[in-house]
Amino acid sequence: MTELGTLDIRNVKKRFKVAGEAFAAIDDLSLTVEPGEFLSLVGPSGCGKSTLLRLVSGLDGDYGGEILLGGKRVSGTSLRRGLIFQEPRLFPWLNVEGNIALALENATLSAEQKRASIAEHVSLVGLRGFEKAYPRQLSGGMAQRAAIARGLVNRPALLLLDEPFGALDALTRTHMQRELEHIWKTEGITMVLVTHDVDEAIYLGDRVVVMAPRPGRISKIVDVGIGRPRDRASPAFTWLKAEVLEALGETHAS
């Protein structure tokens, strides 16, 4: 895949009007994500982490400051920037294959290449044998995997994940985290993951960005710096967890 370069978020401000009153969802936030990095964003609800993701994806616009990707200002959505939602958002009238194929509607690939790419990503997320299954026939975890395959099939250089495992049970969740890490390693995609789960943030992230609400801002950036695959029970992991939780706790207290 082609490199898109560094994601550079500079002094971003985003305001929403709620009941006639403007409030700052994000206030003067700056952050740099290196190509190939896995960045986790954690924070209490209302800290603007999902808002930030939507701005980077291009779904929302109208913000202050700049979001640059490889030096170019982000405008609108792009196939180079994938977004995976908290819910699978599969279309009920299409089977797994059809749903993944939707992502390739506007890809510049031949029909043959598209077919190959779909098959490849179906097996990448472990859904081989379920190509013809409809969303209602899938479990929550399987549906989310199909959604991840859809998000990956364009080979985006940057993949944004908005609490993709939030609705899954603990076991499936752990399993999916391992698979996501595997995909990240093999595909070399830059990933930005928004999550509520501190464990997940540390397990997957090269860095964990802790955000604080009202106004949405960064309160601390924690370098993980433990080798992969990571052992959640290791002292280093536990220590990092305490550090992140402490940072989160401070944001609550303030």
């Binding site: 959505t77 819910e87 958002r89 279309f91 009920p92 009238w93 939707l102 506007n106 969303p135 209602r136």
Partner: protein, 297 residues
């Protein structure tokens, strides 16, 4: 501007049917509880029992009717016995009268419904796709839709006379309203979540329409067509009662004028049963569609 439009019930059952909603109600119950994972598949016993229970009321009425005619509670001139009605039905079938009148009526419903449904689909879809067009047309449409089908008849008689055109126009009007409103509803209620997925994958307008709007609106559109057809069938009978020299409604009027109450009741039963079957068939289609197109994952 979305909020005030999400009233489902009044859309699905437009005001004009309030008085004649019997077949709609029957089917409405069925389509309604069939929405979640359909239970009829795994438990044929339950389904059989449900059908049996539903058949109990007509069976009971039939028994009451038979008893009252045997005991001569009502003079047979007003309420003929079930046997008389049945033999009237048989002679209607054998003489070919029923088939002749029915084929005329069905032709009217088909052309009226086709016209109304096509226009309804076009209006509903254009309003659903263009908020500006909707703002322009919807208030007037809703106002006009408040006029019962029956109330159109005097005015339309002056416009079109009492010929075939009048009947087709009235049937079309009856089909138009539910088709339009449900189609509009279907297009407008495409989940925002779906449209965001479309934006992520850079869909153009045509792709959004073909890949998301059309399949996403299919179920409510079908529901609209179902109500449209039921309304068309009901208004057909009304028109034929008033202004016709042939057709199933006319057959009923004639029977009343000649005091052939057995023929009249047999015709009523035929009208009811055909309406019921039409609606059942469409409800079945709706259920099948909803298995694929309904409820997002």
């Amino acid at each position: 501007m979305n909020a005030p439009n999400v009233k489902h019930a009044p859309l699905r059952r437009p005001p004009e049917v309030a008085g004649t909603a019997a077949p709609i109600d029957l089917a409405g119950l069925d389509g309604g509880d069939g929405t979640p994972k359909v239970q009829s598949r795994g438990e044929p016993q339950t389904r059989g029992r449900r059908v049996l229970l539903g058949a109990l009321t007509p069976a009971l009425l039939l028994v009451l009717w038979e008893i009252s005619s045997r005991a001569n509670l009502v003079t047979p001139l007003i309420l003929p016995s079930p046997e008389t009605v049945y033999s009237a039905f048989l002679s209607l079938v054998n003489s070919g009268d029923l088939a002749a009148n029915l084929s005329i009526s069905i032709r009217r419903v088909v052309s009226g419904f086709a016209a109304g449904a096509l226009l309804g689909l076009a209006l509903g879809a254009s309003m659903g796709l263009s908020p500006r067009f909707e703002r322009f047309l919807r208030p007037s449409f809703l106002a006009v839709a408040q006029i019962p089908t029956l109330a159109w008849i005097p005015f339309l008689m002056i416009l079109f006379g009492i010929g075939e055109t009048l009947k087709i126009v009235i049937i079309a009007e009856a089909a138009l309203v539910p088709t339009t409103l449900n189609t509009l509803d279907g297009f407008r209620n495409i989940p925002k979540a779906y449209l965001e997925v479309a934006r992520i994958y850079k869909f153009n307008r045509r792709q959004i329409l073909r890949k998301i709007m059309l399949p996403g609106a299919l179920l409510p559109v079908f529901t609209g067509l179902r109500y449209g057809l039921t309304h068309a069938w009901q208004s057909l009978v009304v028109v034929e009662l008033l202004a016709s020299t042939e057709g199933i409604g006319y057959q009923m009027v004639m029977a009343r004028q000649l005091f052939q109450l057995d023929v009249m009741i047999a015709t009523m039963a035929v009208i009811g049963i055909i309406g019921f079957i039409l609606d059942k068939l469409l409800a079945l289609g709706e259920m099948r569609l909803s298995r694929r197109y309904g409820a997002a994952a």
